[in-house]
Amino acid sequence: MAKPQTPKPEELVKVDYGTPGKSWIDIPVEFKDGHWCFGSRPEFLEAVGMPNARDWKPDEADWKLPDDWKDTILQGIKERLEKYRSFHIFMDICVRCGACADKCHFYIGSGDPKNMPVLRAELIRSIYRKYFTPGGKVFGKFAGARELTEEVIKEWWYYFYQCTECRRCSVFCPYGIDQAEITMIGRELLNLIGTQTGWIAGPVANCYNKGNHLGLEPHTLSSNMEYLVDDIEEITGIRVEPSWNRKGAEILFVTPSGDLFGDPGTYTAMGYLMLFHELGLDYTWSTYASEGGNFGFFTSMDMAKRLNYKIYAEAKRLGVKWIIGGECGHMWRVLHQYMDTWNGPADFLEEPVSPITGTKFENAKSTKMVHIAEFTADLIKHGKIKLDPSRNDHLNVTFHDSCNTARGMGMFEEPRYIINNVVNNFHEMSEEESREKTFCCGSGSGLNAGENMEIRMRGGMPRANAVKKVRDKHGVNMLANICAIDRATLSALMDYWTPDVGVCGAHELLANALVMTGEKKRTQDLRLEDLPGMEEEANEEGDE
């Protein structure tokens, strides 16, 4: 099939929140165009030894499931109930209060009741009840239980890949039920029978084979970097000299590979390069640990652990003291909450201390990996870098809290502190739509494909709506963030809903304002666009 066309915004905004005439359990799943991703190709699954590698199409009746698929799923649920106490509790304790229902961006944008977090969880709870609880076994449908059929698998697949694991609903749940964990387990179960999306399985295979999601080979990474270095020289007159795989460097730097490939991520990467050069930081990039993100996290815990392994392994091989991680969302959920116990303890590393300020990063004492926003905010706080925020005066900036850094690690102040020091015009979105209540970009957790664009634009509608409010009130024209998926997906979202708002990483703004030692007068920003007001002046001086 060809890629489905996305309706125009004025059509999409007409969401039907009506109540269906019958119980959800009697409404069969309907695969709507633009709401789902293509199935994985067999070679992606084969690359990492995932089961049931075959050609299949989600919109065809026969999903070519293995003969014993039902046993596999039930055994999979049993193992996870025993392994994860959280999952077992989440299966039991929901009282259907409905506090989560209208908090999900996919429900707000689609009006589909099965996108209410309570009902998304019910898709799996109903099976749990049928096979694992006495009440469900005896009373069946009256106890909210149902048989596990292929239709159920298809319904799971359709709705667990319409959840971005953003955890906004869990902020409002009086019981603290974490819907992201339910979705994660739902996806794990689906992986046991080979029903994976190509958009997730492709990057996983690439990351396993070549070190990063895009499949950038070592010479491609260094070549891409050279082009960024050329641009920095054109803008500042300074040639930065980043190193790759350098043994004995003090710090290993790891960031999502998207920052070394796609705009506007490349401008954020230029920001890192310029900052580290100005500091004279003793650091290295790696072609092996060349991916901070982890699409394995969207398939199963085991896969995420396998892909995460290389970060500590490379730190050990190179003999660095500690690690800095770039701007990324789900990468930090993995690093902050899983890496240490999966692949640590990294006791061969030292507790991170900024070589510039002497600050000890107590919070990273165990993982030995520091978020770049913490590192940079600390530099500014100690007055270690010179900044000229007026270079960003043509920008009215707002900040999008990424779900994973906000709700996953409570990082609210550091990016704001950086942005407030590098721009003069900063406007917050409302409290209900930012910080721990931030709205998802609508495309995280591996949903940032092209063929599911309609549900992406629906799911991103609440975020875009919040941006639109600050645009209309304050003339906001730039949406800053600290996530590589955001940089890619919010660009598409803004183009669709609020076309006059651009998207950038925090370190792009920082590097625009960064006064570098020995630099020439800046007449261009990091995008090689003329800086308003500066160009004319430069021409007058003949400073070309």
Partner: protein, 111 residues
């Protein structure tokens, strides 16, 4: 998988029409794909396709836009080294449409 037929041979493509095996690509396929989009390939289109093929053989991925514009500017003139020009040639986007005609796979990940 769907296919594109040429000269008695069937070439497998994915759901969006990208060739599954970039090494199977032959020039006439680009013309067939373009015709499906009601586009006629000119010498200017071929400058981009040829560059993409050569780049891919060396780097195993499509070039980032920054590289595409800079290299096209170097070899074919400064007036061609910008995204506006490339979008005029390939209205659905140089990264997607031109790569598809050149038989290259679509990049995936945080892009």
């Amino acid at each position: 998988m769907p296919t594109i037929e040429h000269d008695g041979k069937a070439y497998e493509v994915d759901e969006e029409g990208y060739l599954l095996d970039w090494q199977e690509w032959i020039q006439p396929l680009a013309g067939i794909m373009a015709a499906q989009d009601s586009l006629e390939l000119t010498e200017s289109h071929w400058e981009v396709i040829t560059f993409l093929r050569e780049y891919f053989e060396k780097y195993q991925i499509a070039p980032m836009i920054k590289i595409l514009t800079k290299e096209i500017a170097k070899t074919h003139g400064k007036e061609k080294g910008n995204t506006k020009y490339l979008y005029e040639l390939y209205p659905a986007g140089p990264a997607k449409q031109a790569c598809r005609y050149a038989g290259l796979p679509k990049p995936t990940g945080c892009v």
